[in-house]
Structure formats: C-alpha cells, structure tokens
Subunit: 327 residues, 2 copies
C-alpha cells in the first residue's frame, strides 16, 4: 500500500502514477482514502465538471471521444470518468473506454478512467464525486462524467456535475420515456446524436416542445433566467456538430458563473457531501469502534425468533452508543 502522504504529494506534483493509485485508493475505499481526500481538499475546485448521460446505444462514447478532441484543440486538459451503474457484474463493459483509449492514450492532456459499480447507487454517486475531486486536485481543467442509462442512479451522478448534457437518438422512443422518467428535468443541454437519421428533426422538435411546456407551467424550471437549454444535432461518428456541443457547455459554464449559480450549487453540493461524509463515517465508526457490531450479532437471534423487533434492537444499540439527549 502506498503511503497516503506520498500519494497526496504525487497528485499535487502532477505524477500520473500517483494519480492512478490515488483514484484506485478512493474507488476501492482502501485504508486512508479519507485522509487522502482530506489532504487534496484545498486543491479542489478549479475543474469544470460536465455530466453526460443517455441510454445505451445513443453514441455517448463516440460523442465524448470527439468532445475530448475538441477541448484538446482549444488547449484544455480533460479527464473522463465513465460510470456504469447498471452493471454490477461486468464492471462497465458497456462503456467504450477501450476504443477511446486506443486513440487518445498517447496524449498527456487526457485521462480516461472507467468505474465499476460498487455498493449502492448512492454510494456510487459519492465515489464518483470523490474520484472527480482527485482529478480536480491533479489539475484537469474539464472533467466529463459519463453515465449509461436514464434511471435514478444516473440522475444522482449527473447532479455531481456543473453542466448536465442528455444525449438521445432518433427512433428510440427516448423522448417520451425520458420525460416520464424525469431525466428531462435536469439537463442543461440536449444532444440528438445520429442526427442524419430519419426522425432527428422530429425528436428535436419534441424536445423543444417539452421545454416550452415546462417553461410555461413552472417559472422556476429554468434555473438561470437567461439560459435556454439548447437542443443540438450531432453526427458524432462524422465529427459533425461537436464544436457546437463544446460551445454550448462553455456558454452554460459562463452563464452559471455570471449568475452566481455555480457558486451556489457548488456550496450546496459540498454541504450535502459533508453531510454524507459524516453519515458514512459515523456508520463506520459505529460498527468498528463501539461494540455495536457485537450487540447486533447478539440481538439478531432475538429478532429472528420474533422476540424482539429490529426497531427495538436499533433503539437499544443507539441508547448505548450515541451521546444523545433524546430517549
């Protein structure tokens, strides 16, 4: 196990080996990962984070590969974190990182990392955020978080980003489904990829109509008054429309900064993250340091026999372990 202080110094000194080890330490929750994140905390905050989500098969990987190139052409460094919360067993095999790796891996200004699913989706969102913190402290200027799917776990992960982009394609029935799933509520930009296929115009129109309806029924649906979420057309495999996506993200970043909303959102997220860190730590300390684990093991037989309920047992454990003023 590498020394945590060495890892912190390595990440701050742009050591790519240290970066890879630091990410693994955080991702696998190895001993000292919290000390590592704590040491990097003062250096976190310069990177701009972009969440890109969409159903499997819409072409997210190709789009992101092209977007990374477009960013590199402007001189910015980019890290990509690919998360697949639907895949507990394959470890994210749906993500095309290996293909991207081949064409981008020789560039020091690009870093690509796949994250396998570990633990609960809530935990995955938290871990994703912490991995992005490491990349942020290392100095990457843009961090792209790629998630597969349109469920609640993807929503939680998209919320760790400053700008959320939703990718769709024609003829997939995505439009209506996504509105139903509530994913449409959170995107700051919409991309219709495979935009040379029949139905692209119709899908773009459908998305714009939904945005209009939403704007008319809920004034607070538009988080920045001056921001109208753009609906963009791309043919990622041909490189068409990519720069417009990059520009839309950068424009949103400017609007977020100038409105003060970026600062507000980041503060709200850091507050929420701190709360989660406290909860994770208190639960860990409960089981490891207080004898609550033994109390649970002893009490569970009574629960299993029906003599006692889980709720009674919980109350008894809490009464013994928390310095609490309630009873």
């Amino acid at each position: 196990m590498p020394n945590i202080d060495e890892l912190i110094a390595g990440v701050k000194n742009n050591d790519i080996q240290a970066l890879a080890r630091a990410i693994s330490t955080v991702e696998d929750r190895r001993p000292g990962f919290e000390a590592l994140l704590s040491g990097l905390h003062p250096d976190v905050g310069s990177a701009y984070r972009v969440g890109i989500t969409g159903s499997p098969g819409v072409g997210k990987s190709t789009l992101i590969e092209q977007l990374v190139r477009a960013y590199r052409d402007t001189g910015l460094t980019v890290a990509v974190v690919a998360v697949d919360p639907t895949s507990p067993f394959t470890g994210g095999a749906l993500l095309g990182d290996r293909i991207r790796m081949k064409t981008l891996s020789s560039d020091d200004g690009v870093f690509i990392r796949s994250m396998a699913t570990r633990g609960a989706p809530g935990g995955l969102a938290m871990t994703t955020r912490e991995v992005c913190d490491v990349l942020d402290a290392f100095g990457f200027e843009r961090i792209i978080v790629e998630t597969v799917g349109v469920g609640q776990s993807e929503l939680a992960i998209a919320h760790t980003a400053d700008t959320a982009v939703l990718v769709m394609m024609p003829e997939s029935g995505d439009g209506v489904q996504l509105l139903k799933a509530g994913v449409m509520e959170i995107a700051d930009a919409y991309v219709v990829n495979k935009g040379d296929r029949p139905g692209a115009e119709a899908l773009m129109h459908e998305i714009r109509s939904m945005l209009d309806i939403r704007a008319s029924i809920a004034a607070d649906a538009a988080p920045i008054p001056a921001w109208n979420p753009p609906v963009l057309r791309t043919v990622a495999i041909e490189g068409e429309g990519i720069d417009e996506v990059r520009e839309a993200i950068e424009n949103h970043a400017i609007a977020m900064r100038e409105s003060g909303l970026l600062e507000d959102r980041r503060r709200a997220r850091l507050r929420e993250h701190t709360r989660e860190v406290v909860e994770r730590a208190v639960v860990q300390a409960l089981w490891q340091g207080t004898g609550a684990g033994e109390r649970l093991a002893g009490g569970v037989e009574e629960v299993l026999s029906g003599e006692r309920s889980p709720y009674d047992l919980a109350n008894a454990i809490i009464a013994d372990t928390l310095e609490t003023s309630v009873d």
Copy 2:
C-alpha cells in the same frame, strides 16, 4: 394522525382502512412508523413474496393481473406492490395499476398499491420491504412486488422477494442486455411474454443457452441444486401460459422450503434489514439528538472556505457524539 397502537390493532384485525393508513405511514416515514413496524413484527413471516421485474413494455402489468386471478382461483389472497424506481417525478405513472384496479378492486382478497419513488434507491428497497411486512402481518398469503426496469435498484428490490421472476419479450434485444446488466444472475424463473410474436422461440433458446453456460462455469450459480430455472412462454393478454407461471412460482417455493434455503435467505435478509434499521436510526439520532446538526452547520463554512476538509469535520463530529473506543 391515527394512533399507532390503533393502527397495529387494526392491521391485525383485518381492517382494510387501517391497512391503507399503516402503509402510508410506513411509505411516508411518518412519526411512529418504526413503532408500527415493531408492533407488527411478531406477525410477519407467513406470506410468500414474489418479485416480478422487466423492462417497460414487456407486459408485466397484464401478466400480474392474470397471475392474481390465477392465484384467486386457487383461493389464495394476493397483495401487489408496484414500485417504479425510475420515476422520481411522475410517481409511478408507468405502472398500470389503475387498469388493474378497475377489474380487481371489488375483490376483498386482492390489494393493490403503487409506490412512488422516495429518496435513494437503497431507501426504496428498504421501504418496499417494510410495506410488504405490513401486508404480511395483515395476512395476505402471496405478495407480488412489481418493479419496472433492469438496473441496480431493481435488483435490490428483487432481493426483498423469495422468488424472483424476470419478464422479457421477443425482439426487444433484452436477452443480451439483461445478461450484461447482471439481472439474469438473480431470476428463479424466466417468462417470455408476447410469446406469439416472431422471435419468441429464439429468445427462449437464448435464455436457456445462457443458463446452461452459467451452470457449467459456476456450480454455485444454481442456489438450489434441484432447481433449474424454468423458461416459460406466455401471451398474458390472452391468458395463455399464466397457470404455468403460477405453478413454477409455487414449485420454487416448495423447493426453497424443502431445501432449507427459504429459511436461510429470510434469516440473512432479516439480519441485513436489522443492520440497515440500526444505521438509519443512528443517522437520524445523530442529526436530531446530539447537536451534530449544529456542529455540521457551523463547520460547513470552514469546509466551503477550504480551511477544513469534510473528512476532518466528520472526525470531529464523531469524536464528540459517539461513545467510541477508537480515536
């Protein structure tokens, strides 16, 4: 707010109004919901729980409606809990409970309840389990938990059941995707619905091949040595194949009971549930009863300014609130 003791007595006395109120109390985590569950705990354990999951559009709702009828024909009472974890905003509008309600609502032996998504997916699985506990204590003999989708949250919910059934349809590309998503790992029976469409035989063959491959590479993949997960064909809308599904579930229940695995799994789940109840309660007590909330509010400014990391703050809060022997 109804008195908790009255609700407990009402549920035990088969009062359907009390049942509905008890479920709402648990679902919305209203004050006293833990006391309610605690009071019902001795009466939980007679119901057999069946999880039914699959992508939107495969015909789960129709299948379940027919399955409920098939169970009623054998004299068993059935409760259905429909959970839609993908839908944070619509509150489960994808679920066809209203249609089912129309045709089944006059039958006292049937109870149907939709659950909107609340909080994190982990929390939803826990709440689903607790709602099933209420229905179990009331006396329903079979409880069907319907979930939409094939992601990790659905897996967690399927794990709250004794028998897990996965529903697919031809020509949806589900087969390969589901294997990739790892959902195939957990089903005890597979149903190919809309089985009169082209491709039904091919999909059934594909599922059987996957099961064979899995059995050959992992001996422990089959939890009950004597149980080969059946692959069944239905045309739910015509009522075809429904009784075979019911029989497969009942056969699995018998195999689970006779092998002792039902008891083992239920014990493991109750142990895990107790652990979760303790964690939920300790986190709640932490914020409500210890002054940790004030500590967090005070410390968060230091975190936001970068003076202090969330991890430092967590350690300080824990040192002050947990009776711990570690430092």
